[in-house]
């Protein structure tokens, strides 16, 4: 039984989100901090250095950390306001259980653990070990990610562990592995500053990875040209040199067109291609198979602009290409990623100063989290769970047999489909709010209602946890020590700033206690603190592509971060990959991947004639569990809205600020219109951070990339109409 025990409105009243505000006139007379601790912001892959002020075991403020080299004191609004999570009224302070008709009532930790373990054992005895799944998240540190990977396999004994990075980094990871044999941005951000041309493909950097704008502007001040591919004029696109307003879901066609221009106008680097790559002939043939006229017709970008882009990219001597979810949230996510890499390889601009490429990790620890084990097909060090050698090595580190180590499990969306189909009966989740973040929220809600048991670990009661039987009060980012890995591949140190409040416990201690009670203590009992987990992670990652062996806590502190791979303690780390052109693929070369354009999963028709695309805003993070509780951020963007071009709005009789209904084959929302000329006239945009009746994911499509399993959040087909008011 896993439906909310009482009406959602009652739960909202009790558990929030209640936005915490700065008092009028500021914090007059607030206590001086007892200490100021250096750590990092939790709210995106930039992982900005920040100092938190503490008084009486509570975070009461912040101070920029100007010495930290990546962000040099800079922060976006999320970083500036993150301290308001400290002492938050919605914070979970005890474990709880679901009581029908009453809500969630506090229980002892003993009861929480006992119930959870009893249910795990019952369900697994009845339906088999894989019928109990675990869903995790990459707001967690490397240590917790590693621990959860090991816990799910050896204590929970399930193959079905996956994580919310499935909605984030998996297309980029798969594409990078295909092309380079390794999954990391190829350069530190310092190389952006020295690029003559910068190409941003589907990345709203000003809102989603704000510090990146500083690097781009430093390059522009030196004369760099900026090309932006996006269906909207994002803040960084506003002043760019060339904007390619692509129709959502058609990126691979556009990227083929740019490659074609490079080939036809002689901009390819034949010497580099011959010496350091493979697969060029097929890739070239695929690019030449589609005319620019055809590319233009599919992508909605004018032929002359495609040519301009090819020339701007082609003529430069140095360049940096970055992409993010805009091209990756697609049934062609991996195709789009390799199409970007094809442009980089065709001009041979990689592995040198000012010559770079990188995907921009979205989540706080999206990079490190995926490397170390809570992805359904990976083992620590970015190893492959289906590779016998990789398994043997991890078995030797973990002290288990091959039989004890489950195989490849299902992806997070597949797990939800299997819950819906009754194949998975039990769920343990931490740091993941799939009811808001998976596509087709109505389907997710139905699925959650079918679970026989669900235990959720979190610090605020997120909307998915409303469906839980047991809730365990876990820890916030600032309540546990650990490391994380930024979008650049820089491993940094997260410091403990305060203790978990009330009876809340550290996530690590919860997982370790569960492991012990599940009879797997022998694999976990030696962990005494986060550093001991990190030290095992170092060994487990040794020899893998994401090799952390040479990185220690002390080095991270002394050197303000260390870039992996770092195979030995004396190794300086690797800010820039591929300087030696020795790629990690089977033949040691960088691989071109030929891409043929495929249409998106949903095409417009008379019934659903408009394209919907979704994304983030600067003031919110992921499903909003944290940022919808921070007053200053809520004030910046209190509710979702529909961005719509005046031409389209006029056609439907919709005016600015008016309520409008948006409906897809999956569901609908009623939101206010924001009539703006900064979006394609055939497309509407809704930010996704809200639940329930305001959820953009009521509309999105359960269609996935065949390789990465990422959902097609960036393209669904909808119909629209004016509405008289909000939904009751």
């Amino acid at each position: 039984m896993a439906n909310p025990p009482v009406a959602v409105e009652l739960l909202n009243e009790q558990f929030g989100p209640h936005p915490a505000h700065v008092p009028p006139g500021g914090w007059v007379g607030r206590a001086q901090p007892e200490k100021i601790i250096k750590t990092h912001c939790c709210f995106c892959g930039m992982q900005c250095g920040i100092q938190l002020k503490v008084s009486k075991n509570q975070v009461i403020g912040f101070e920029p950390w100007e010495e930290f080299p990546f962000n040099r004191g800079k922060l976006c609004p999320k970083g500036v306001k993150r301290y308001l999570q400290g002492g938050h009224p919605d914070r979970l302070l005890t474990p709880m259980k679901r009581v029908e008709g009453q809500g969630f009532v506090p229980i002892s930790w003993e009861e929480a653990f006992e119930t959870t373990v009893r249910e795990i054992k019952r369900i697994q005895a009845q339906y088999g070990p894989d019928s109990f799944a675990m869903l995790s998240g990459v707001s967690l540190t490397n240590e917790k990610s590693y621990l959860i990977g090991k816990f799910a396999r050896l204590a929970l004994k399930t193959a079905n562990l996956d994580y919310n990075g499935r909605l984030c980094m998996v297309s980029a990871g798969a594409g990078n592995k295909k092309a380079f044999g390794l999954d990391r941005a190829s350069n530190s951000w310092d190389d952006i500053v020295h690029a003559e041309v910068i190409l941003l493909a589907g990345t709203n950097v000003a809102e989603c990875s704000p510090i990146t704008t500083d690097y781009i502007w430093r390059a522009r001040d030196r004369g760099a040209k900026l090309i932006v591919i996006d269906p909207r004029v994002t803040p960084i696109a506003r002043t760019c040199d060339l904007h390619l307003p692509v129709k959502p879901g058609t990126d691979s066609a556009l990227l083929l067109g740019i490659l074609r221009v490079l080939i036809e106008e002689g901009f390819t680097n034949e010497a580099f291609i011959a010496e350091h790559t493979s697969g060029w002939e097929d890739t070239k043939a695929a690019a030449l198979a589609m005319s620019l006229e055809e590319v233009s017709r599919i992508s909605g970008v004018r032929v002359e602009d495609i040519q301009k882009a090819g020339r701007m990219w082609g003529e430069a001597k140095t360049s940096f290409l970055m992409h993010a979810r805009g091209i990756e949230h697609s049934t062609k996510g991996v195709d789009n990623v390799v199409s970007c890499i094809n442009l980089v390889l065709a001009t041979g601009r990689i592995g040198k100063k000012g010559c770079g490429y990188g995907t921009i990790t979205g989540q706080g620890n999206g990079q490190g989290g995926r490397e170390h084990g809570h992805k359904c097909d990976q083992l620590p060090g970015n190893r492959d769970i289906s590779n016998p050698d990789h398994r043997a090595y991890i078995c030797s580190v973990w002290g288990c047999t091959d039989e004890e180590l489950p195989g490849k499990g299902h992806t997070a969306p597949e797990i939800m489909e299997m819950i819906h189909a009754g194949e998975i009966k039990g769920l343990l989740s931490i740091c993941f709010n799939p009811l808001v973040s998976l596509p087709d929220s109505n389907f997710t809600a139905e699925a959650l209602g079918k679970l026989e048991h669900y235990t959720a670990i979190d610090f605020f009661l997120n909307e998915t946890a409303y469906h839980a039987d047991v809730v365990m009060a876990g820890s916030l980012h600032e309540e546990e020590e650990g490391t994380s890995t930024s979008a650049e591949g820089r491993v940094i140190k997260i410091n403990k700033v305060v203790d978990p409040p009330g009876e809340a416990r550290t996530d690590t201690s919860i997982i370790l206690e569960l492991a012990k009670r599940l009879g797997a203590g022998k694999f976990f009992d030696h962990f005494t603190d986060s550093e001991s987990i990190f030290n095992e992670l170092r060994v487990a990652s040794k020899g893998g592509t994401a090799d952390y062996f040479g990185i220690t806590y002390q080095r991270i502190v002394d050197e303000m971060g260390v870039f992996w791979p770092c195979p030995e303690e004396g190794h300086p780390g690797t800010p820039r990959l591929w300087e030696d052109y020795k790629f990690k693929t089977n033949d040691g070369k960088a691989h071109f991947n030929a891409v043929t354009y495929r249409p998106p999963a949903e095409e417009v028709d008379d019934e659903y004639p408009i394209v919907l695309t979704t994304g983030r805003v600067v003031s919110h993070y992921l499903s909003g569990t944290q940022t919808r509780r921070i007053g200053g951020l809520v004030d910046l963007c209190p509710d979702p809205y529909v961005e719509i071009h005046p031409t389209l709005a006029e056609k439907y009789g919709i005016v600015n600020d008016q309520w409008m209904r948006v409906e897809s084959r999956r569901g609908h929302v009623v939101l206010k219109a924001k009539v703006v000329s900064t979006i394609r006239p055939d497309t509407v945009f809704i930010p996704y951070h809200w639940p329930g009746k305001k959820a953009a994911n009521n509309l999105t499509n359960r269609a996935y990339d065949p390789v990465s399993g990422i959902p097609e959040f960036k393209r669904a087909c909808v119909r629209i109409a004016p509405a008289s008011g909000p939904e009751q």
Partner: protein, 167 residues
């Protein structure tokens, strides 16, 4: 205390942070009947003094840059004071320290000119009246003073002009 304004959101995503320009001859202080707005010897125009401020909002209307804000909850005018608590002890103001895109910068006009393209200026002409300020604004190279008129600074974006229509 600074604030952010969206400039004609219908036409552009442009935003602009409103920081106090710290006028050489501040209109806000000139119109204050309670003499609540003081200028420090180093040229920083302070927020209103709490004991003196009567909440009349004259300054809100007088400032040509739209800086002072009246906060009804505390019945007092608040404005950017260049983070005097920070700048008077050698730190940068908070806004310029954290600004992720470098749109706000704290340093001398010479340092700014060396790092950026464009020219820093501190003379603005509002309807024929010249205002000189302590804070500089970056403008295209060659500009000496900026004549401010509504809408003149907005670069509109309309994607209808650049998307292919027949796709």
């Amino acid at each position: 205390m600074i604030h952010l304004e969206q400039v004609q959101r219908a036409d552009t995503v442009q935003t602009t942070p409103i920081v106090c320009m710290h006028c050489e001859d501040p209109a806000c202080a000139a119109v204050c009947p309670a003499d609540a707005i003081k200028k420090t010897p180093d040229g920083v125009v302070q927020s209103s003094l709490k004991p003196r401020c009567i909440g009349c909002t004259n300054c809100v209307y007088a400032c040509p840059f739209g800086v002072p804000k009246y906060d009804a909850q505390i019945d007092q005018m608040m404005k950017c004071d260049m983070c005097y608590d920070r700048t008077s002890v050698g730190l940068k103001p908070m806004c310029a320290t954290v600004c992720p895109s470098g749109a706000l910068f704290f340093g001398t006009p010479e340092e700014l000119a060396a790092e950026r393209s464009g020219t820093p200026i501190n003379e603005f002409i509002f309807g024929g009246k010249k205002v000189r300020t302590k804070v500089y604004l970056m403008v295209p190279a060659g500009t000496r003073a900026l004549t401010v008129s509504t809408g003149a600074l907005v670069r509109k974006s309309d994607l209808k002009q650049v998307v292919r229509q027949d796709g």
